[in-house]
């Protein structure tokens, strides 16, 4: 049977690429160290497959049909379509169809109804962390695109439940492989709104603290606060999936720093799963 190899989370944001040279040296050093430390931890977990939970930034879906959750079940997915992501080396990213289809079947059995895609474009949300983590060779990637971009979005509690479901699906997969989860996005930021550029450090610190408290305390805080903490903060849903998969055991904060140059409160976390 497969085993759960670990859960991780990292922020993303276009300016982590486009404005990288403008990031002050001290902040850049911390960002680089945090991404690379997460990369080292992921490598040491030796995953054969990695479920990457990220939003779709209008790369695959439009208003015609924007699924709450879409799982990538194809043999391969495409690298990021954004022109400024051209330097990302991986253009054809191997998937794990058998594992992905098993997750879909387990989800359906459990009363979840994800959309599925046999070929997705993995935009900066998925690929910036993979890039900055320094993974020369990628494990097979099972993309899970979770809507945190266009309302209505999945409930926060449902995201936790998705994480638990992923854990159960991983541990019931018949092949003896190791599977990890990477949630990307958050923490606070605001895109295309009048508050664009705002980073809510108080919210970020309290959110991080609540990941060590009960699910109810975490969810109720986020439900109250998210509507006024910037639309990008909604991506914390992807952290909730990782948290659910780790069975809510809390994470070790690799680093957190607000980076005004990239307009994101940048967080990096590694869950305790042993």
């Amino acid at each position: 049977m497969a085993s759960f190899a670990g859960a991780f989370a990292a922020s993303h944001g276009p300016l982590l690429v486009r404005e990288w040279d403008a990031v002050p040296a001290g902040e850049k050093s911390r960002l680089k160290n945090a991404f690379e430390e997460l990369g080292r931890r992921l490598k040491s977990a030796q995953p054969d497959a990695l479920i990457v939970v990220s939003p779709d930034h209008w790369s695959n879906f439009f208003l015609d049909n924007y699924p709450a959750v879409c799982l990538g079940v194809g043999a391969a997915n495409e690298g990021p379509p954004e022109p400024w992501m051209k330097a990302f080396a991986h253009r054809d990213i191997a998937g794990h169809p058998a594992l992905a289809l098993h997750i879909v079947e387990e989800a359906m059995r459990a009363g979840f109804e994800p959309s599925v895609s046999h070929r997705l474009k993995l935009d900066h949300g998925a690929c910036i962390p993979l890039w900055r983590m320094g993974l020369e060779t990628l494990p097979k990637i099972v993309p899970m695109l979770l809507n945190s971009i266009e309302p209505p979005m999945p409930s926060l509690r449902r995201c936790l439940d998705w994480g638990r479901l992923l854990r159960q699906a991983i541990e019931s997969y018949r092949e003896p492989i190791r599977v990890a989860i990477l949630g990307t996005g958050g923490l606070s930021h605001s895109i295309g709104e009048p508050t664009m550029g705002a980073i809510h450090e108080d919210f970020d610190h309290e959110t991080i603290r609540r990941f060590s408290s009960s699910d109810d305390a975490l969810i109720s805080y986020l439900e109250d606060e998210l509507p006024r903490r910037g639309n990008g903060s909604e991506e914390v849903r992807n952290w909730l999936v990782a948290h659910g998969a780790a069975l809510g055991r809390g994470f070790e904060l690799v680093d957190y720093l607000p980076v005004p140059t990239v307009i994101v409160g940048c967080g990096f976390a590694s869950w305790r799963v042993q």
């Binding site: 439009f62 208003l63 295309g192 709104e193």
Partner: protein, 81 residues
Amino acid sequence: MRDYWLSKMFYDLQNPALAAEYRAERDKVLDRYRIGPEVRKALAENDVPFLAQRTNAYLLRYYFFGTGMKDEEFIRRLRHG
């Protein structure tokens, strides 16, 4: 509220070839979408708050980034028109 066709154009303009065409022949591209005169005027005037009420915030940002508006100017217009 979502203006479907405005949003559709913003979505499509993520394609660099279409974005280049839009920069060169804006009206020709606009004519392919069912965009009303008020919205067309707002596009011509870079009326960010008006457009913000009609599309997703990420698509709005992508559009103005693609047209070359600096973030500082975009944010100023978002806040003050």
